[in-house]
């Protein structure tokens, strides 16, 4: 059951969990690999997605390799035998390695203070060294139109630092998104909507429950950091 009142888009944790299950069900159909991660200790869960991108090394500010000042590493890496360890083989494709592979870990976590979902994230390189986002604000796979406030904060469930988007305006956004006529708002919030010819019909058919089934997808579209497939709203 959905308990959200029409005038107020703040949700409870139970509602968040319920909406998340809906979101996961659709994600599976659409091949988006969102997962539900639950911490056994406090029984609280969140949504997680790993995304991948590449960026040229010179576009990354101050990406100091950890290896450089690790004593042990410097001992073990300086071995001549490594240069000869691999035989020559023309069957190996040599790839341009001027790019750094970046793994984005996105978490949708319920904020009990703001009573809305919040977006937490971290970015890592292949060896799981963290990327300093505050000095690299231009490397997001998708750049949001309005750059929100990004700070670091202890993850409420994992207890370790993550970047997060401050949720102070989320409640208002969600109110706007829902209170005024549904289809207009959705159109505004999602750029892709124009490309789908049949949107008019589909959106008109949405019952109230369906609307809230898409709470997470709608909310995610307001953050601007992840592209939200229009099919979430059509399924």
């Amino acid at each position: 059951m959905v308990h959200v009142s029409i005038k107020n888009q703040y949700i409870t944790y139970e509602e968040f969990k319920e909406f998340s299950q809906n979101f996961l069900r659709k994600s599976k159909i659409l091949n988006y690999q969102w997962e539900w991660i639950e911490e056994p200790k406090n029984k609280k869960g969140f949504l997680k997605l790993i995304q991948y991108s590449e960026i040229s090394k010179d576009k990354l500010n101050r990406h100091e390799l950890l290896e450089d000042d690790d004593e042990i590493y410097n001992i073990i890496i300086n071995k001549n035998e490594y240069n000869e360890i691999q035989l020559k083989d023309e069957g190996v494709l040599t790839e341009d390695s001027n790019d750094i592979k970046i793994f984005w870990e996105w978490h949708i976590v319920y904020s009990s203070v703001f009573q809305v979902p919040t977006l937490f994230f971290n970015a890592w390189d292949e060896e799981h060294n963290p990327i300093d986002i505050l000095n690299n604000r231009d490397i997001f796979p998708i750049k949001p139109l309005n750059t929100p406030i990004i700070t670091q904060k202890d993850h409420p469930i994992l207890g370790i630092p993550y970047y997060y988007i401050h949720p102070c305006t989320t409640g208002q956004n969600m109110n706007k998104l829902y209170n005024i006529e549904m289809k207009d708002q959705l159109t505004c919030s999602m750029q892709e909507v124009d490309t789908i010819g049949k949107k008019e019909n589909s959106l008109k058919d949405l019952s109230n429950d369906d609307i809230y089934n898409n709470y997470i997808a709608s909310w995610l579209s307001t953050t601007g950091f992840l592209k939200v497939d229009i099919k979430y709203f059509l399924l």
């Binding site: 159909i29 091949n31 991108s53 073990i76 069957g91």
Partner: protein, 682 residues
């Protein structure tokens, strides 16, 4: 494509989720302990590599072998993935890692693959073709993992040639594609097939009824017997490149050559985009030539060591300290808190400069305790204490770094105990304590002891950026004032009365520039500039900051907090120690720096819950910071101090204060008795 080219394979890359290292660490502590017997582990690769590309058109995920928390048990295989069996050799020491017979281990895995081809096991269980090697050293104390993967690929004498590339959708029509997908799903659904990697390497052939047959490698002969359409060898391909197959087909090609002496074959790079409707548009067909004679049973050569992030052959390093090490976690939490202040309120806050400031606290009593705690809260990582005392029963309730236990058996030394206490509160702190007596004018002492202590104090002041004078006697402030002024350090002084206090910064080195305003940092006085007497043994009970002075209990925390905030304001000011001294102003007025005013002296009156900001200039005849004293000290060093200790009157002679006294114009003054106006005019 008519020209044949050498077929090149995209290397497989490793991607280790931290959960793998977490579970390995746990397993090591609970079960494996010091044994370094190689372990079987499982990695996973996906044939659904393009899934993320949908969320961003430009992004394609390359070939990864992933390890995660299931890699030690292989109980849960991620969806759209097949397992790869690996041999993990984890060493207990870095020396063992160094000494590992890496080539030998690599060959061991290559031989396992080759044997599985020779004895036909790989046909029944094709995941045997994918066996890999992982060597590692886990530094469990630091949560650092040094590791190196190898994905052995057996080599043929001659290169393999690519003669033609074609989209699968150009070879199969819509119905055939659908049929292929349905039959492939059936292969996936048979129990245990995924564990054996059977759908990872398979056969297919179209017939003429819009139908595509899918079979296992064991059905090779049967597929070949029907030669109406070609037999295609498919493999689940994590690679997404248009003209290159992924690494994982290499050993299958060797198998084809060895078992069935195949010289020409079409391979299918099976690259499904899963979802609502399976999308096979990215699947590629490649016609290849495997030239050369039949293979003998001798183990072929092999390649497959992974390059590290720098593009060289060598180990990689995963540092999970920031997310696993409690010591690292508290450090980042401390920094985070301060960064929040910068992000939310004050972008100009130079946290790096603040946290790298090294602080020397002379005195580890009430003031020292509170100052240290406030410095830690500002993220300062380097705090040194000097105190000659031991902890007494009256201390713990007033001095928050000590506890009842510290008073027992005559009491622990204050300085060392304070340093230990800081480390207990925050392990990231660098803190040390020194127990010795600072040489004082009029406190006679053995000459050699004076020499040792002067030199130690000089060394400590030299090594620090900010010196706090937090002692309980006036004379003990004299020497550090002289040395601090001589070395141009920031000196912050705090002294307590019963219900009033003084917190001040000492002026910077005189620049001799008359164009500078009178409140310029270099024009400001020190603690002694305001007294017109030399510091001598204070038995006469003249000052408020002597031993056994009683103070209102809240006063020390207030004064200490002000002392620390004054230091922070100085550090964060671009002019630093030369910052102009601000006078009191209304709290509603704009301040010259984001942190606010940078006063010279703060005089607090607890009776009125009030602070006054006072500016006092350098006194030319000051017994601590005047030119003549500094020159004398710089010239004669320890000898000068020894002389002052035994004959403190010498200070007054040097500075000419004695003449002033003779003139009788000035009487004993003490800061707390002075009117503010008088101070300014001195």
């Amino acid at each position: 494509m008519d020209n044949k080219t050498v077929l090149q394979f995209q290397s497989l890359s490793s991607l280790v989720d931290p959960t793998f290292w977490y579970s390995l660490t746990k397993e090591k502590i609970d079960n494996i302990k010091l044994s370094d017997v190689p372990l079987d582990i499982y990695g996973y690769y996906s044939y659904n590599s393009l899934q993320s590309s949908k969320s961003n058109d430009n992004i394609k995920v390359p070939s990864f072998l992933q390890l995660n928390s299931n890699s030690l048990t292989n109980e849960i295989i991620p969806s759209f993935s097949f397992p790869m069996k690996g041999l993990l050799k984890n060493t207990n020491t870095i020396e063992d890692f160094q000494k590992l017979d890496k080539k030998g281990l690599f060959e061991k895995v290559s031989k396992k693959i080759w044997d599985s081809i020779l004895n036909g096991e790989a046909i029944k269980c094709p995941s045997l073709l994918n066996q890999f090697l992982l060597i590692s050293f886990s530094d469990l104390k630091k949560y650092k993992y040094y590791y190196w993967f190898a994905f052995p690929a057996l080599l043929l004498e001659n290169p393999i040639y690519l003669t033609n590339t074609q989209l699968l959708s150009d070879y199969l029509n819509k119905n055939e594609l659908q049929s292929l997908h349905e039959n492939y799903q059936k292969l996936l659904e048979i129990p245990d097939n995924i564990k054996k990697g059977i759908p990872g390497y398979f056969l297919l052939k179209k017939d003429d009824n819009n139908h595509v047959k899918v079979g296992t490698l064991s059905e090779w002969e049967m597929f070949k017997s029907d030669d109406k359409n070609k037999t295609i060898v498919g493999f689940a391909d994590p690679c997404v490149l248009p003209n290159n197959p992924g690494w994982l087909i290499r050993n299958l090609i060797v198998l084809l050559k060895k078992k069935w002496n195949v010289s020409k074959v079409t391979i299918l790079c099976y690259r499904e985009i899963a979802g609502e409707y399976a999308d096979l548009s990215q699947c590629k067909l490649m016609d290849i030539e495997i030239s050369g004679e039949e293979l003998s049973d001798n183990l072929p050569k092999s390649v497959g060591w992974e390059k590290n992030i720098k593009g060289q052959f060598g180990p990689r390093l995963a540092n999970l300290g920031p997310t696993m090490d409690p010591n690292k976690l508290i450090e980042s939490a401390v920094d985070l808190n301060l960064k929040l202040m910068r992000w939310r309120i004050m972008p100009s806050l130079d946290l790096e400069k603040i946290s790298s400031t090294k602080c020397l606290l002379l005195g580890a009593g009430t003031l020292g305790s509170y100052v240290a705690r406030s410095l830690m809260a500002w993220g300062i990582r380097h705090i040194t204490f000097v105190d000659n005392g031991t902890i007494s029963y009256s201390n713990p309730v007033r001095q928050p770094l000590y506890e009842f236990q510290d008073c027992l058996n005559g009491g622990k030394p204050k300085a060392e105990t304070a340093a230990e206490s800081l480390k207990r509160i925050f392990p990231g702190i660098h803190s040390k304590g020194y127990k010795f007596t600072i040489p004082m004018p009029g406190h006679s002492e053995d000459k050699n002891v004076i020499k040792t202590n002067v030199e130690l104090l000089e060394k400590l002041i030299e090594e620090h950026d900010a010196i706090f004078l937090l002692m309980d006697s006036r004379e003990s402030r004299w020497l550090p004032t002289v040395i601090g002024a001589s070395k141009g350090k920031i000196v912050i002084n705090a002294a307590l009365g019963f219900d009033s206090y003084l917190v001040m910064r000492h002026g910077a080195k005189d620049i001799d520039d008359n164009s500078l305003p009178t409140n310029h940092g270099s024009k400001l006085g020190c603690y002694f500039c305001n007294d017109i007497v030399a510091p001598v043994d204070s038995l006469k009970d003249r000052t408020l900051d002597q031993q056994c002075t009683v103070t209102r209990p809240g006063l020390s925390a207030i004064a200490s907090a002000n002392a620390v905030e004054l230091l922070i304001s100085i550090i964060n000011s671009p002019d630093g120690i030369n910052s102009k001294a601000d006078a009191s102003s209304s709290p509603f007025e704009k301040t010259p720096t984001p942190l606010g005013l940078i006063p010279h002296q703060i005089r607090g009156f607890l009776t009125h819950f009030n602070n006054l900001l006072v500016v006092g200039q350098k006194f030319a005849q000051c017994t601590a910071c005047s030119k003549i004293i500094l020159e004398e000290y710089q010239k004669n060093g320890v000898e000068f101090v020894q002389k002052i200790v035994s004959t403190p009157d010498y200070l007054e002679q040097l500075t000419g204060l004695d003449n002033l006294h003779k003139e009788g114009e000035l009487l004993n003054c003490d800061w707390v008795d002075d009117d503010d106006d008088d101070i300014d005019s001195i």
